[in-house]
């Protein structure tokens, strides 16, 4: 009997606060490490190399994701055995071409959750536009060997209500190391009038400016987009987690006493 080996792309999400980053590290709990452990334990794969394991983004320690993408060769759909994992959610899968490499995305979307501590949001919006298009992002990247000339398709600043979390989305075919967290640091500086629009312009025109680095835990890799239609999976535990965090926020911010949250007076 001949069993066909197929290449699968699997979308995964995770709460970054549970892991020491994405990439495997000996003795540390990482997203990649946990996934490979599970795939080997369930005999889906022999090892990382044999199944041609690849991923879209190597997110840093603390960074979360809704739609990072891994790819591997397997005889049956590995999404199932990955579904029961703790703190890693399988959110979709697709059968892909033999040579599919998730690194080569049409674009990636990152979202930064900026707690609004009195920012001038209009200023942030104005500054955000400067990042769109092609620029030298050397002031907005941790140095590595890669070319710092990059293109950003779009930056969107979303604020539903004053005082709430400001969401800043970045859409680009690829990002440099720490680029989003450094761009947001620049935007935050402008929003607090610690830096000017001019400072960002100069930084994008070759001047080296260090605007700082925002914390990792507020950053989410929202999605990685290809010309592929993924079959979506909604992980059940996510509905519970969403409700718990919503209630935690509502309960703690509104309650002065539990009567206020809808309980009738208890029967004595």
């Amino acid at each position: 009997m001949h069993i066909r080996i197929v290449r699968y792309a699997i979308k995964i999400g995770y709460d970054g606060s549970h892991f020491n980053g994405f990439a495997m590290q000996p003795g540390k709990k990482t997203v990649e490490g946990e996934i490979l452990k599970r795939l080997i334990k369930t005999k889906m794969i022999e090892n990382r190399k044999q199944c041609k394991f690849q991923y879209a983004a190597r997110t840093d320690k603390g960074v979360s994701a809704f739609g990072n993408v891994i790819a591997l060769n397997a005889k049956v759909n590995p999404a199932k055995v990955l579904q029961g994992m703790e703190d890693i959610w399988v959110t979709g899968y697709a059968i892909v071409e033999k040579n599919f490499n998730p690194r080569h995305a049409s674009y990636k979307i990152y979202r930064y959750y900026l707690p609004n501590e009195g920012y001038d949001v209009e200023k942030i919006k104005k500054a955000a536009e400067l990042f769109e298009g092609e620029h030298d992002f050397s002031s907005f990247a941790r140095k590595d060997s890669r070319n710092t000339r990059r293109k950003i398709y779009r930056v969107e600043v979303k604020e539903r209500k004053a005082g709430e979390v400001i969401k800043i989305d970045f859409i680009a075919p690829s990002f440099l190391w720490n680029q989003v967290r450094r761009m947001v640091a620049a935007l935050a500086a402008v929003g607090k009038e610690r830096a000017s629009i001019e400072d960002i312009k100069e930084a994008l025109n070759g001047k080296r400016v260090n605007f700082g680095l925002m914390e990792a835990r507020n950053l989410v890799l929202l999605d990685v987009i290809y010309d592929i239609k993924f079959k979506r999976i909604l992980p059940g535990q996510l509905a519970v987690k969403k409700e718990i965090y919503k209630d935690a926020f509502d309960y703690i911010s509104n309650a002065t006493h539990s009567w206020n949250v809808g309980f009738r007076k208890p029967v004595e």
Copy 2:
């Protein structure tokens, strides 16, 4: 100079998935362990005994809380040094009597988040009423030395929309070990017609019935209530976490493609 030592009650919340339960255990990350470590490191206290450290509820591994309560003696308010902790949120504090023991609460509120996998919610509501009042809960507790005759003030079943998570609140002066998770298992069995209202009645009238035990990660200690007014604190990170989980759920459940979630087509 004489510095007055004062007893503080501090409300704390935590996501249970980050800890091996509340109670301290050598070599394991627990809520109590992390708190004591922090208090000792910041020289707030010398050790557990010296400060008369006490807590309201020893929640099991996986269980979360919005308002568990600890109490300790200190020279200055310990809420501040606990505020910067990872995965533990200080949500309020109060200065209390020298002999305050958080174990002695007016009542506690637990909430169970039951993912609605096709339950008959009306049946669950009907069965939930049976638990109110005073009963022998020996069928709904992991055995320990305590008296199983207990009083429940109220059980409330909340369902906003069909298909969503059902929230079941339990209000009582005290709970037996695993009691909420066992009561919910019985309600779930009735809601799936694996057990009848009669079965619960019989169990509350002395017959030993094992309805099973629901998983810990969907259980939250919502609050512990005393005749004390706590000064509330809203932890900033909670707003971000709430937004991340809300977006994760919305994004993963609605999106078939990112254009659908409000992005304009990127500039090429």
